[in-house]
Symmetry: C2
Subunit: 181 residues, 2 copies
């Protein structure tokens, strides 16, 4: 998950466009209105038998920490396509998506995260360009103290709870949690 | 739901930034990279007793047709905040969100739609600036032939199915449906 977001060109100002209700970034040179909206992060808890796939981040923020294969959804793909693409890009993993685990809101970062449960089609995984290394962890061996983001903790916990329950509902942020770190 | 999206200034071109994997819109004048990502539409099926709130659109696309109160999520709000804001903006409705009904993907429009079930706090509703009129419909009286978008049909259907089932799961697009109209 890359949470950086370059938001404006060099000559943009915040101003209220005619007929709008919110101030927007507008280019002083050409008048272009840069509408900014939240971004969708798509990712998956990917399992091979009992083991969970994690990626150690090669990029900031949280370089060196472990995360799920996840990232920004791209134009003209579905959220499922995006989760499959990120698993390939970050861990060279081919996955089969099983179900939606959670919809998390990170309002400080203007993110909505859609996290799926998935099955690895094979245990052959390898670091993509945004990962230092990737690994399959038995549950007790997950590097809990070196996870990159609160939502990685949430996703793993909700995934685990869902394994033991039929009709486990789609989860959202734990009560009171906004995903800040 | 307003599905228009002004995407670029007057002097932008599509080009591959260094180190990126996808072509992006880049301003020839200042080098600003306009990252484009899917947008989140948040909305709700809002009920007062058995009646369903719909809004007749005052704006294109699909001006004159009926829709749910829904629209683009804004920065630094949660999806629930956004659904409540849209209900107020489009129908002057105060709502209590009950649960997530569905996550729909509309890849042609690069949209993810998060649709909630909600209860109207009172039956006092009124057209906001983007609505010609708003109304509360008994189920058989819903203007089925004059709904604005396929996802309005899906949302109403999934809402209705969920009323009669405990543990009704969060839904996604009906099989094979991509939301085109």
């Amino acid at each position: 998950m890359n949470e950086e977001n370059k938001t404006a060109g060099p000559n943009f100002e915040h101003r209220l466009p005619a007929g709008d209700s919110l101030s927007r970034l507008i280019c002083r040179d050409c008048g272009f209105i840069q509408y900014e909206n939240p971004k969708v992060v798509v990712g998956a808890v990917c399992a091979w038998e009992e083991k969970i796939l994690l990626c150690r981040r090669a990029i900031d923020p949280r370089k060196g920490y472990w995360t799920l294969p996840a990232g920004y959804m791209e134009l003209n793909e579905t959220s499922l396509d995006g989760a499959r693409r990120e698993a390939w890009e970050e861990a060279r993993a081919k996955i089969e998506i099983l179900r939606l685990i959670a919809v998390y809101n990170i309002p400080r970062l203007s993110q909505v995260q859609l996290i799926y449960a998935a099955r690895l089609v094979s245990p052959d995984v390898a670091a993509g360009p945004e990962s230092i290394e990737v690994a399959l962890f038995d549950w007790p061996d997950i590097p809990w103290n070196d996870l990159a983001f609160p939502s990685v903790h949430w996703s793993l916990g909700h995934y685990r709870e869902g394994l033991s329950q039929t009709d486990y509902p789609v989860q959202s942020n734990p009560p009171g949690e906004l995903g800040n770190y």
